[in-house]
Symmetry: C2
Subunit: 352 residues, 2 copies
């Protein structure tokens, strides 16, 4: 299948009997074209199926209307939702998306990823990698060297880092923990995510804070470090019960680990929620049909993605020549609030 040469602006100009300049005016909807000329050119464009070459346009205009997105772990719930939010907001704003996936969140060879995006002349970069280990510190150096704005989604950033959009993960821990306390729990354990993840540490901190405020002692024996998988949740409950047999509630830092905890409870013959309250995080689609249906904390993930696009697009516009306004309306750290979803895996306040 031989592909024929593509139609160019010259072909259109020739067919319409005008200069390429005039065709360009029509393409860009400039006002100063005679209505008659406009129509004629438009007709030729439709007839020939002409499509402007965006490479050429990008080369002359110095912008590509493309956002570079660097993400990790599309197979997980959070990242895939964030990405969906990103893509839709980008499309709605007229940007297309160049996606690069990272294999490990704490990887260090992202220099070439950023270089690749810069070489492809993206107008801005959205960094959708969770904060793990020290992967934020090298981002600092890289981000300032980038020729275009960069925004982080999925965590927080400090003073000298790019703007960020994240979920208030400490609030997640507080919401889950107070709900469990309200249900009358006397001994609440936690299965955390990997503690080199910021999100995992924050959820733990929220749990700890809330317990302390309530006058309870969040001892280390009540903490089990999982790895986000159902298996680690299962293992977690076994281990926690071994250490502290009278546990009557578990806050699992995601729904998959909560499922593992419930699985272990079933094996041990522990009734949920009567003997063990279980609360997760994420609100995965399966949660409402677990046995029993899982109480969980929902995060506004696609909203975070959408906001990231909004912020980076605003930064792009602010950085264009002719506009040297301070970006005061750009908050640097944005934290969105989670929502508790109560189902049957947690004991409720008993009236009276």
């Amino acid at each position: 299948m031989t592909r024929r040469r593509r139609v160019t602006i010259r072909d259109v100009a020739q067919a319409a009997g005008v200069s390429t300049q005039t065709v360009s005016r029509v393409l860009n909807d400039r006002p100063d074209v005679a209505p008659e000329t406009f129509d004629r050119v438009q007709r030729v464009i439709a007839d020939t199926g002409y499509l402007p070459n965006m490479l050429a346009r990008g080369l002359t205009q110095g912008r590509t209307h493309t956002l570079g997105v660097v993400a990790y772990g599309l197979e997980y719930f959070g990242p895939s939702r964030i990405l969906t939010g990103l893509e839709q907001a980008a499309a709605a704003t007229g940007y297309s998306m160049s996606l690069t996936l990272i294999h490990r969140p704490e990887t260090e060879d992202v220099d070439e990823v950023l270089a690749g995006l810069a070489g492809r002349q993206v107008d801005g970069v959205i960094w959708a990698i969770p904060e793990v280990a020290s992967n934020r510190s090298w981002l600092r150096a890289r981000a300032s060297a980038m020729p275009v704005p960069l925004v982080v989604v999925g965590g927080t950033t400090g003073e000298d880092l790019p703007p960020s959009i994240g979920i208030d993960n400490r609030a997640i821990g507080r919401l889950a923990t107070s709900h469990i306390l309200d249900g009358g729990a006397r001994r609440m354990a936690i299965v955390t995510g990997p503690l080199d993840w910021w999100e995992a540490r924050e959820r733990l901190a929220g749990w700890r804070e809330t317990l302390e405020t309530a006058g309870s002692r969040p001892s280390d024996g009540l903490i089990f470090e999982g790895d986000w998988t159902p298996s680690s949740g299962e293992e977690g409950l076994y281990e926690l019960l071994r250490r502290t047999p009278d546990i009557d509630a578990v806050f699992a830092s995601n729904d998959q680990m909560a499922l593992g905890v419930m699985h272990a409870a079933h094996r041990l013959g522990l009734r949920i929620p009567d003997e063990l309250s279980v609360v997760g995080v994420d609100d995965i689609a399966e949660g409402s049909h677990f046995w029993p249906p899982l109480t969980t904390v929902q995060q506004p993930l696609s909203e975070a993605g959408a906001l990231a696009v909004e912020v980076v697009v605003r930064a792009i516009k602010a950085s264009r020549p002719g506009r040297h306004s301070e970006d005061t309306h750009l908050r640097r750290v944005n934290l969105l609030q989670p929502t508790l979803i109560v189902r049957q895996s947690s004991r409720q306040v008993t009236p009276g």
Copy 2:
């Protein structure tokens, strides 16, 4: 933050005291450069942090090393795995990925999506949209009008359609059904996906075929059409039992619906697998920790994504001038085989 002007090939040439032409030779690793010159230029490149502008390169070379990917339903298991496979294979082959998400699989306004990709000069397109309703028929017309190769992943295509990579969904139905029959089921129902989906119809056909071969009658009363969600699985079991009270096994066309079926069974006090065998499809991460752990059929999804990249890249190379070889080594329809994963939700063959 004012961004300084980017370094161009001219800057490098000037600093190294050579022509841009020579710099270009170094960039592209051409052999005919004096070693000394090569080193000098390379050093300037490193010092200045020069990055070739890919737009300019694409404009002159007529290729962008970018693949356009059109996908649907990233929040679902299948699509997200396929996308992961796609991205990794693309990256490994030196291609970057321009991602567009569709909101409904049977949508008709994808003309502008394809036009957008063509305008951005992608070297090839991967169409990762499931076959729903008549969305393949309009693809036919569009695909042949595309100036670059297009490959479909996630279904099959006919004679006059682009090459396709898919999973053998009929085999999925057969695998699940024979496994259930082997376990001694006497009355097996099915909860299908939406029947305007090719995958759903094929899994149903595999179920039907297998039952017929076994001498059983796959009556319509044993078929419930779900919508892939856990809720529809739950509703499905209630309805099926109403119609046929002696059902002792259900093949659910995905794991989420299988979860819904198990949920309904728990509510009804039906023991799994003793009174009801349940088998799903997908092998989602949660399945191994359902109660009981779910028997399921796994699909090689990321392999399908990787193969799609391989096929489209081969087509790209074949379509480049100077190479008019028939693409005989390119099978047009590729069907990958699924694998059964046996856990505890299905009755096993009892020896003796």
